[in-house]
Symmetry: C3
């Protein structure tokens, strides 16, 4: 009988956001969990698909709009180039901390045994096929299959 803790501890991370600042928490937690010997499953859905879509994953953005924590007035944030600038700045900060870019981070997590699944419904909505996704994705699954996989796990929705 499995349990949420002990030798067979499992962590499932649902990644539903595609911004830089919400992509990294999932990656960092997945990586930390693997280093602790925890079984890790990542499930990418909705905007989280951007994290694993070949054309987008190396170019995730951070936007100062609608996020007052970034401290940029909205009248400035709305100007062309501001999202790009905020994204470049955040990427630099992340690099300084020695975290790899998103695509390499996914590769690291996959190599360390993390399993990665993509949400079928979201892919249909965004007209993506498995070929559009990075090779680390083990399988495209539906919500019911995800529910089966997450049995006995601690589940995070990011």
């Amino acid at each position: 009988m499995s349990d949420t803790n002990g030798a067979d501890r499992k962590l499932c991370i649902i990644c539903s956001k595609g911004t830089l600042d919400m992509a990294y928490p999932g990656l960092i937690l997945a990586n930390a969990a693997l280093m602790e010997g925890i079984d890790v499953t990542m499930f990418f859905t909705f905007w989280g698909l951007d994290m694993i879509t070949k054309k987008k994953m190396t170019n995730l953005k951070a936007t100062p709009l609608g996020n007052p924590c970034m401290g940029m007035p909205n009248l400035l944030g709305v100007l062309p180039g501001m999202t790009a600038m905020a994204s470049v700045m955040m990427k630099k900060e992340i690099e300084k901390l020695d975290f790899p870019p998103v695509d390499e981070f996914l590769e690291m997590i996959s190599d360390a045994g993390g399993k990665m699944y993509s949400c079928k419904m979201s892919m249909d909505m965004m007209k993506l096929t498995k070929d559009d996704l990075c090779e680390q994705i083990d399988e495209v699954v539906g919500a019911m299959e995800f529910m089966e996989m997450s049995e006995g796990a601690q589940v995070l929705f990011i």
Copy 2:
């Protein structure tokens, strides 16, 4: 003694967002869990109240502002009508996937045995009474009651 898995597996979903793109993940997961025989409780709080408020639930919106994943420049996204347009487009995509609109989805989940509770404190803040909510809401409860309900459950905060 209950456990997070096995025959008496429980899932509690806290719905705190009222945008279209963050309403559906909770609905889809709740539905999938019920189809897997899992006990499901939904708790609506903060902006998540929009999902169950009669006047708003059929008119949830998706905004391209502050969400660079939608790929619309902020200078365009800020224009009148852009939120409405993005909302209509997303609703069409959701419909194409054969998912029902929010009000019907809640009815389906409730009919399948999903329990639904509304957060008392958030209702007070937004000056809502139980009459403002759809009939699927079983009860208005406080945070402490929610903590009791979620004992032994996998809990998602959306």
Copy 3:
């Protein structure tokens, strides 16, 4: 052997947002859990650091931009002063419900036995030291240490 429910029920709340509307759900749930005798750990990361940074914690903001639930047109929301106005309005509503301001709420939770940790990596990224944080923070920890702390707990990512 611990379990997610029973006498040794544990709740871990990861606070990753620094807006008023996403700060309170974590505080309210932590408080309710403590009143139910549940062991509570809060982990502040990314924008959630604003909740515990002395210079920012008393001045968290709510923005109508990118949140259509607030019902303000984006063309208005982008104007100077609108974020400040929305923030003042929300603070008043929260006060009416007899919830304390963020700094006092953290003090209450800490006094009631809630443990609070800050994410080392996020602090490095934002160039913060422990002196910048409120005194309720027990320790600065890494993601691996957080994974150890959260063993057997129900974990919420806010």
